[in-house]
């Protein structure tokens, strides 16, 4: 086995995994608080990417602009996408899911599927039905730049691009920030209380709808950030991108134990690594097989996980409510 090739796949897997973890957190936050699989979450992520594209195009900075201008633009794109997705996610909850709180469990799920389709169609109106590239703001020099060679002077085939580092540099502070918010602030405490027992939390004077709304805002903003990052990491976007990423992220959330924040991050990295290894090594099993089998592999993981350990790796066992 080629060690440097394996390392390369692991690096790609880490970056993919960070992205998936960001999206998976949105599923897990919402599920933890309202027990709803927010099927439209992948589309919230897609909408973040679309908004970032429009915003950056509007700002008009290109790869030839000055370094500070590019950095500020990238940051604006990130914040803009986060804000947009957060507002969108919150609004959908406000308009639809909140009215269905006391309905049978499947009603909000079906509504979420409906929103997922609506948002995809809006995506088609917005940026067409074909894949497109974002406005290029990464200076040409850095697109094929290898940090290991240029900074550390290593002679290696392994490539670490500034983009790979950027993905982690965006993701990790967000993960820490989220963790701080949920475990250290008053609102976070209210969210956790709501997740544990909604009725008891309400009796203790917690504004349930506010706590749930905050979960949707947090989940949406993480999805928006993931959208902006994925946009430049893949250098392409399409109205269907949310479906694939959304399902992968949902798998990650289930793998880690849905409702568990650390689990979502762990699951995200595991799925990211499975993804890149499957892309890389599938062809060694049967010639002609390759990345096209990756979705089957990951859905296979999802199905197996659901069947044998639906509580996930870190999830606690909760008995079904009667």
């Amino acid at each position: 086995m080629d060690i440097s090739q394996l390392t390369q796949y692991l690096i790609i897997g880490l970056a993919d995994g960070a992205l998936i973890a960001l999206i998976a957190l949105g599923y897990t936050l919402v599920y933890g608080v309202v027990e709803l699989i927010n099927f439209a979450h992948g589309e919230i992520f897609m909408m973040g990417a679309f908004f970032a594209t429009t915003l950056i195009t509007w700002i008009g900075v290109t790869r030839d602009s000055s370094a500070p201008a590019i950095l500020v633009t990238a940051l604006l794109g990130l914040v803009g996408a986060m804000a947009f997705s957060a507002i969108l996610n919150f609004s959908i909850d406000r308009v639809a899911y909140r009215r269905l709180r006391n309905a049978p469990r499947l009603a909000p799920l079906i509504a979420a599927i409906g929103f997922s389709f609506i948002l995809q169609n809006i995506g088609i109106y917005w940026h067409g039905s074909n894949a497109f590239s974002p406005p290029s703001i990464i200076p040409t020099k850095y697109v094929r730049y290898n940090i290991l060679v240029e900074w550390f002077g290593l002679d290696t085939k392994i490539r670490v691009r500034p983009l790979d580092i950027a993905v982690l540099a965006v993701t990790i502070p967000l993960l820490i920030g989220l963790s701080w918010f949920v475990y250290r602030t008053r609102t976070g405490k209210a969210m956790r209380a709501t997740a544990q027992d909604r009725e008891a939390a309400a009796l203790m004077g917690i504004d349930i709808n506010r706590a749930i709304g905050v979960a949707f805002i947090l989940g949406g903003s993480l999805a928006g950030a993931a959208g902006m990052v994925a946009l430049y990491y893949n250098n392409s976007a399409r109205f269907q991108m949310g479906f694939r990423y959304g399902l992968f992220a949902f798998t990650a959330a289930v793998l880690g134990g849905i409702g568990n924040l650390n689990g979502a991050v762990l699951g995200g990295f595991i799925i990211g690594i499975i993804w890149s290894l499957s892309d890389g090594y599938m062809k060694t099993f049967v010639s002609g097989w390759g990345a096209q089998w990756t979705p089957s592999v990951i859905f296979g993981v999802l199905v197996i996980m659901m069947i044998f350990k639906p509580t996930g790796l870190l999830g606690e066992h909760t008995s079904d409510k009667v």
Binding site: L106, A107, A111, L247, L302, K321
Partner: protein, 406 residues
Amino acid sequence: MASRAVSLKPEPGAVTDREGQLASRDNLALGIGLLFLLAYPALDTLLGRTRLGAMEGIMVYVILAMGLNIVVGYAGLLDLGYAAFFAIGAYTMGFLTSPASYFVKQGWIPELFTSKWGFWPALAVSWVVAAIFGVLLGTPTLRLRGDYLAIVTLGFGEIVPNFFRNAAGVTGGISGINRVGVPYLPEIMGFRIHFSASTQRNWYYLMVFIGLLSLLMIRRLYNSRLGRTWAAMREDEIAAASMGVNLVKTKLWAFALGASFAGFAGSIYASAFTIVSPDQFEFSVSITILAMVILGGLGNVYGVIVGAILIGSFDRILAEELTKPLNSFGDAIGVGWLANHSVTSDRFLVFGLALVLMMLFRPAGLFPSARRKAEMQPEDEATLRHENIQLYDTLESDEPAAGSRV
């Protein structure tokens, strides 16, 4: 959360369910609908429309929606991967009857299927194969709760077409299998019914016939012992289990029978279009069918048929027909994007809106079955209070008797 308690007094409407005893008004509507379906080809020629091909697609949707209604409407199991069974039915027909199929080339298929008569036995085999896959995919999901089940079925719904697309050596990959067998009927008194690309009317009648056959079977199922255990399980699994309902068997039957009708639909679809390819069975197909079932009314097979016809006609006919007037309207009022807008690209929006609006305003569908209507009612404060008052009441009815309160 406990759903409604079992009421001992017969609720009005619950027993004389739409499907149990059709009122004469319903019979009339059914007759008119049937007459319209039978007369449609003549109307089509008369009005100078050329929509028979689209009507074939709609009839396939009707069969699919009736099948999904068994799983979602009767048994209450949300299946988001129903297109997988549609694909399995279609590919079974292709594998058995097409000279281009890998299995036929290997000489593994008996001549019964590859001869000119092949369609009929292949239709039956597709029905059975789809049912078997229903059991195979159903077995591992039995322990799962409603929303988890939905996601696992979605996973299967992705894996199956993905497999057909990627296992190119056997399935023909992205281009699929062509030259799928067509039905053959013998000459009766010098008159023979042909099935080819130019005889759309015959295809249409064949589909109406199979649709009616399916309807008949499904109605019998609904009123059978199995149908009643589905209703019991859907309303309260634990209560049903303690009354002696075998949940595993009941769920597997729902999966198998639901899938089998998708097998029907898939094999006719493959035969009518003489080609099977993986992109006919994407996730959006599963959701489109789900939208039909929900729009029409979960659990009411006639409502579901209407839902399928409504969404199917929007999908296949109306979206195209609406584009022209919309464009000329856009021209007239000078709005550029309206003038060039194609309604066919709004389909996802319409299906999505249908799902959301139905859930918000009419969760039991346009034509709800009385039973389902009662179940889908949100437990609002009034009901909760009502239930609390009667907490110790064994006899719960909609009109609380004065003396029965504790």
